[in-house]
Amino acid sequence: MKMTKFVVLFVCGLMLTSVGVGCRKKPSYLTPLPGQRTQAPGDLTPGDPIGTGGTSGQDVSSTSTGEFGGTPLNPAGTHDGWIENAAALKAQTVYFDFDSSAIKASEQANVAAVADYLKANTAAAVRVEGHCDERGTEGYNEALGSRRALAVREDLIRLGIESGRVDTITYGEQRPAVQGYDESAYRLNRRAEFIVLTPP
């Protein structure tokens, strides 16, 4: 009898432990609650009224990959009136895989070259323009172009560029580099372009 009780207790303990472990590994789709700390910069200002209360727990960003960032952007129009130069960094255009905003190893040299350019031209800023091929839906592509530009921006920041010098814009599928309805066109349209901005 005592033995049975012990076994029951032991099993209960095991269950509790596993439940505890399960709780700690928070699914990434949960919205973080106010007061929760997260690794990602660009956090909510504390006290924003989302959620109904928080418990401490592990960061929701525990599954975040290298390219995930979140450095707040300049207000819109910060570089209005600056002189635009689309040619200077044309060769550094970054290309993406289908439906991805991850920066491929083959493209990292281009991002590094842009960072070097900005380090050598300290007065300049850059606008990263995110584009998509036409295969996604329009609404989806607008957001995908945005994420591509933001992923490149986070890489530039990681390479030491001040966040305020990097603007982003999405053009979705609205501004294809080449016309065409096959992969040879699509791969050239899934891209981030760099527009150098210099003070007027």
Partner: protein, 390 residues
């Protein structure tokens, strides 16, 4: 809605001559999308524009056309300047409607008759509703508003820039949309009756996909101001903007539950696309099951609260599907994308790709009957991103 379903079911059964007191009516089966037979109509006395308008109006609401002997409803009309028309139910010989119309255009008179006719079948007509959409001419795009059948298009914007995703304010002649007019994708509010417009959201980065709450007091949207693309909600006037999601994955295409308590959106978590919903005040994200539909996106919640229409994408292209609002097995409806519900929760407007362009089409969900709407005349461009005024 249930009453409506029952009424419809009764009519359908009566027409088949199988109605008995013992028949158990299974509402869920009757409302099963795509499984409903059309109601047969015979039209006589009308020709040209009047006939075309009436046939379009009825076809996209689940009617189809045959001769007098095969029809359940007999419509007889004459046009002598104005429209006079009658509709009778052949089964019981009852005159449903007999009316003369004056004023407006002939199109409008026929639309009004179509609404009067379906009202006799306990249904709310859609023939005098409006849609907003994007007209893309290649270099630029503009927001347009037209009748639900694509006629009488009016340009809302003339900015010669990129626009995206118009969204109606329920019950008002006003829309929100994204425009690049100020060299950034910003969300504008535009009062269509006065022409007045103002900036609603102009944060750094992208301001996309506005969706207005059923009571018009809040707007959900996708912003990237904090360095990543996430779901936000703000007051209709532009204040009190709060971030609802915070993930490295993508969120897009928010829409509202008709009770205003939930925002449904396209989500991706752990590499898998899904539809999800989140309480408007923030909280735990709930994934919706969309059984059978790969890579769901672009949800739109029916005004009666029962269904969520969405786009499913495969390598072959896009299809419009529908799933019960609480999730479950989804039903494929038609090849196309970006569906928006009619105010009576029966018809969908959606986008069909045709050659290199896009056209808008209307789909009667119960019968799966669909027809393209008129494109803007003189435009070889694409029409897309429809929003049906509710």
């Amino acid at each position: 809605m249930r009453t409506l379903g029952l009424a419809l079911a009764f009519l359908t059964l009566a027409s088949a001559g199988r109605a008995t007191a013992q028949v158990q009516i299974d509402i869920s089966k009757i409302l099963q999308p795509g499984n409903t037979k059309p109601l047969w109509v015979s039209i006589s006395g009308l020709s040209g524009e009047a006939l075309q308008v009436l046939q379009f109006d009825l076809y996209v609401q689940g009617f189809n056309f045959t001769n007098q002997s095969g029809a359940q409803y007999i419509i007889n009309g004459t046009v002598a300047g104005n429209l006079t028309a009658q509709a009778t139910d052949k089964i019981n010989g009852r005159t449903l409607i007999s009316r003369s119309y004056t004023g407006g255009t002939l199109r409008r008179q026929v639309h009004t008759f179509a609404d009067d006719f379906v009202a006799q079948l306990q249904r709310k007509g859609i023939a005098q509703t409006k849609i907003a959409f994007k007209n893309d001419t290649g270099a630029n795009s503009e927001i347009f508003v037209s009748d639900f059948d694509g006629f009488s298009p009016q340009a809302v914007t003339k900015d010669a820039t990129i626009v995206a995703a118009p969204a109606w304010v329920p019950g008002r002649l006003a829309i929100y949309y994204t425009s690049y007019k100020l060299k950034n994708p910003d969300i504008f509010y535009h009062d269509l009756s006065t022409g007045e417009r103002r900036i609603f959201a102009r944060y750094g980065g992208s301001n996309l996909s506005p969706a207005v709450s059923p009571d018009g007091s809040k707007v959900a949207m996708i912003l990237s101001k904090d360095g990543w693309s996430d779901l936000y909600v703000g007051d209709a006037g532009g204040g009190n903007v709060r971030r609802l999601t915070k993930s490295q994955e993508d969120e897009s295409s928010p829409c509202w539950s008709p009770d205003g308590k939930w925002i449904c959106f396209a989500d991706k978590s752990k590499g898998r696309r899904s539809l999800s919903k989140i309480p408007v005040g923030g909280g735990e994200i709930q994934r919706l099951t969309t059984g059978g539909a790969p890579s769901p996106t672009e949800p739109d919640w029916s005004p009666d609260g029962n269904w969520i229409a969405f786009t499913s994408s495969t390598r072959a292209g896009f299809d419009v599907w529908v799933v019960p609002a609480k999730g479950g097995a989804a039903t494929i409806l038609v090849g196309g994308e970006d569906p928006t519900w009619s105010p009576n929760s029966r018809t969908l407007a959606y986008v069909r790709r045709q050659g290199g362009g896009r056209v808008l089409s209307l789909l009667d969900v119960p019968t799966k009957q669909y027809k393209d709407i008129a494109r803007i005349s003189g435009s070889s461009g694409s029409n897309s991103q429809p929003s049906w005024a509710k």
